[in-house]
């Protein structure tokens, strides 16, 4: 461990560990909420008749805990690990880091409690209660101060691509959160407000999750493959393309709505543009993998990363089509979109986070993975479960869209969806079964007696 002048360890592994623990707990809450909500569609909701566990409220917990509990905590853990190593400077203050950790989890608990008690906000992906929003904004600012400090004070010459993404995301996240949670709630009603919430739905994924996710990919993939990124030029194109095109496509969530058509056309063009740009990022990463592709078999973290990237490629390919007005006629309002959301948030970023766990958890707890085979089981159950869910929901969306367009009685679209909703629940159960292996592996690894030696950071797969 490289000691700095003030003799603090470079990376505060305690903070990394706590954020990973919080991330996994909120993952469990989010998944259980999603499963319960899916059961509502099979008319076997487990908490029927209980007001504070009503399906509508539980759905808010499902999505918000996925974004702010699971993904945000894991990304903070990743950044707490990556930034000090890239800048050779520790974070500003370990005490502040712990304060932010506690405050963030408090926000999550208040969010869950508020939503279940009926204080959810009607902003998609921003259902956090209105009284929690200021706390989250303050928390984000403190977080940025704490982890941007090493980037600002570093003596390194030039910033690595990971830090470009982080710095841009630091500027974006607070602005986006403020815009999305306050403007449509207090000042901008109706269609213009819808344009802004569309922007928020999009920017949460595009300007918070995506840049930090890719930033961490640019850090971890070369680290684990022990070779540099294939092309610096493609890194540049990918970053600047994302920065330019991503923020200007929010209205594509409300196509054919009463929002002015110029905004809708603009959103469609910008969306198709960015899908072309992100292909350069994928080319860059697969170029990096070239010659080391055996790592996908031997290194589970790399396998998670590249599985997520393939999902990313499919998502973006799908998105370039589904954003067109032709597709929107049929698929908007249907389960197709739900499938798309799961592919992005879980299939891409969730999978990358599992890769971070595989790599970071042994370092954070100072022990090697106990049962690598459990992690392999986790991989296959999760990947197969999610792919099943995506195919199922995409097909369901087409069935629903054509049923509505054909002016069938509304109940027909519900009846026709029933088999798909059953498959969705089974797929959800499969994903949760995978996480049982995962949680057991996390727990057993943390509890195993210390060996006194630093474990190999890259666990080899048992099978």
């Amino acid at each position: 461990m490289i000691a700095t002048v003030d003799r603090r360890p470079l990376v505060n592994l305690t903070l990394v560990r706590w954020h990973l623990i919080a991330s996994s707990i909120f993952l469990a809450i989010s998944l259980l909420g999603g499963l319960a909500y899916a059961f509502q569609f099979n008319n076997m909701y487990p908490f029927a008749g209980i007001e504070w566990l009503s399906p509508g409220r539980v759905r808010m917990v499902h999505t918000n805990m996925a974004a702010y509990g699971f993904i945000a905590n894991a990304f903070i853990a990743g950044m707490l690990f990556a930034i000090p190593r890239l800048t050779k400077r520790p974070i500003l203050s370990d005490q502040l880091g712990m304060l932010i950790f506690v405050a963030w989890q408090l926000c999550m608990v208040l969010t869950i409690g508020g939503q279940l008690l009926g204080y959810g906000q009607a902003i998609e992906w921003g259902e956090t209660p209105i009284f929690v929003d200021p706390l989250i904004v303050v928390g984000l600012v403190l977080l940025v101060v704490n982890i941007a400090a090493p980037i600002v004070t570093t003596a390194e010459n030039g910033l690595y691509v990971t830090l470009w993404y982080f710095l841009a995301a630091f500027a974006w996240t607070g602005l986006v959160y403020f815009m999305g949670n306050y403007l449509p709630q207090f000042w901008v009603p109706g269609t213009a407000g819808a344009a802004i919430t569309g922007l928020y739905i999009h920017d949460l994924v595009g300007l918070f999750v995506t840049p930090i996710g890719w930033g961490l990919m640019y850090f971890f993939v070369p680290l684990l493959l022990r070779k540099p990124i294939w092309s610096h030029a493609l890194s540049l194109i990918g970053f600047w393309g994302l920065a330019f095109f991503y923020p200007m496509q929010g209205v594509h969530h409300f196509l054919f709505s009463p929002i002015p058509m110029y905004a809708q056309y603009g959103a469609v063009v910008a969306t198709i543009a960015i899908e072309i740009v992100v292909l350069t990022v994928l080319v860059n990463f697969f170029g990096t993998l070239h010659g080391r592709s055996e790592a996908v078999r031997g290194n589970l973290a790399i396998r998670w990363f590249y599985t997520g990237m393939i999902m990313y490629g499919i998502t973006c390919f799908q998105c370039a089509f589904q954003v067109t007005l032709t597709f929107q006629k049929v698929i908007h309002f249907s389960d197709w979109v739900v499938g798309h959301a799961h592919m992005v948030m879980f299939g891409v970023f969730g999978f990358w986070i599992f890769g971070f766990f595989v790599e970071l958890w042994p370092r954070a707890v100072g022990r090697a993975w106990v049962h690598p085979r459990l992690l392999t089981m986790h991989y296959w159950f999760t990947v197969i479960g999610l792919i099943l869910m995506i195919i199922d929901l995409t097909a369901a969306g087409l069935v629903q869209g054509y049923s509505w367009g054909a002016l069938s009685h509304w109940s027909k679209s519900v009846m026709d969806s029933m088999p798909f909703w059953w498959v969705r629940s089974v797929a959800g159960l499969m994903i949760i079964a995978g996480q049982v292996f995962f949680f057991y592996a996390l727990w057993a690894t943390a509890r195993r007696p210390a060996e006194g030696t630093v474990p190999a950071p890259i666990p080899a797969e048992a099978a």
Partner: protein, 211 residues
């Protein structure tokens, strides 16, 4: 701070502002000439269904809202909107009719921007998913009794529905409380400004339906 790092922070701010201008502020500017109406202005025209509600449930209505007039209607639709939000109804019901996929035939006239320019749409409840049907043209489509029964047990009137039962809107004698009546008043308000298939808004040019 070294210049290089500033570049990316400034990039973040500038690209955010550019996107916000194109996708957020321009629609705001487009709508700026349409005045934002208050809840009281919106509630000035009380639909017949609200008076009917006072006759359907006289005791409960008296206790919850007093007499049916614009003041009590304003109170009822605001409370109904708040319940619609806290139960996250908008996750499964949209509130705009698109000009495609025969939606004007199914639901009614295509949505116009000026319909949403009022405080009841703060925040807007467009929604992005339809498990159940769109609700922006719900007013007058079904009776108050149907709506109340549907809230208590959706499958009693819509056998294939997957909507949850909202039994906590009712007291132990299964009589509707103010919550049930408020939600019904809100649903009967949604689209009450559509007259004979035409979207009407006081003080604004009427926008024709396309159906």
């Amino acid at each position: 701070m070294e210049r290089f790092g500033v570049t990316f922070l400034v990039t973040g701010v500038v690209t955010f502002l550019l996107g916000f201008f194109l996708q957020g502020l321009m629609p705001v500017l487009t709508m700026r000439k349409v005045p934002i109406r208050t809840v009281q202005e919106v509630a000035a025209s009380v639909p017949a269904e609200f008076y009917q509600l006072a006759e359907d449930y006289p005791v409960e209505f008296q206790k919850s809202f007093g007499t049916p007039d614009p003041t009590s209607f304003a109170k009822a639709i605001q409370q109904g909107r708040d319940i619609y939000i806290s139960e996250a109804c908008w996750h499964c019901h949209s509130q705009f009719v698109r000009p495609v996929a025969n939606e004007n035939l199914r639901f009614g006239p295509v949505s116009q921007p000026n319909e949403y320019q009022n405080e009841m749409m703060l925040p807007h409840l467009f929604g992005t998913r339809r498990v159940g049907p769109d609700l922006i043209r719900e007013s007058g489509k079904r009776s108050n009794d149907w709506q109340v029964a549907h809230l208590y047990d959706p499958r009693s009137v819509a056998p294939y529905s997957v909507m949850p039962s909202y039994t906590w809107f009712f007291d132990k004698d299964k009589r509707p409380t103010d919550r049930a009546l408020a939600v019904v008043a809100y649903l009967q308000w949604l689209g009450s400004w559509v007259k004979d298939g035409v979207v009407t808004e006081p003080g604004l040019p009427a926008a024709g339906g396309q159906g």
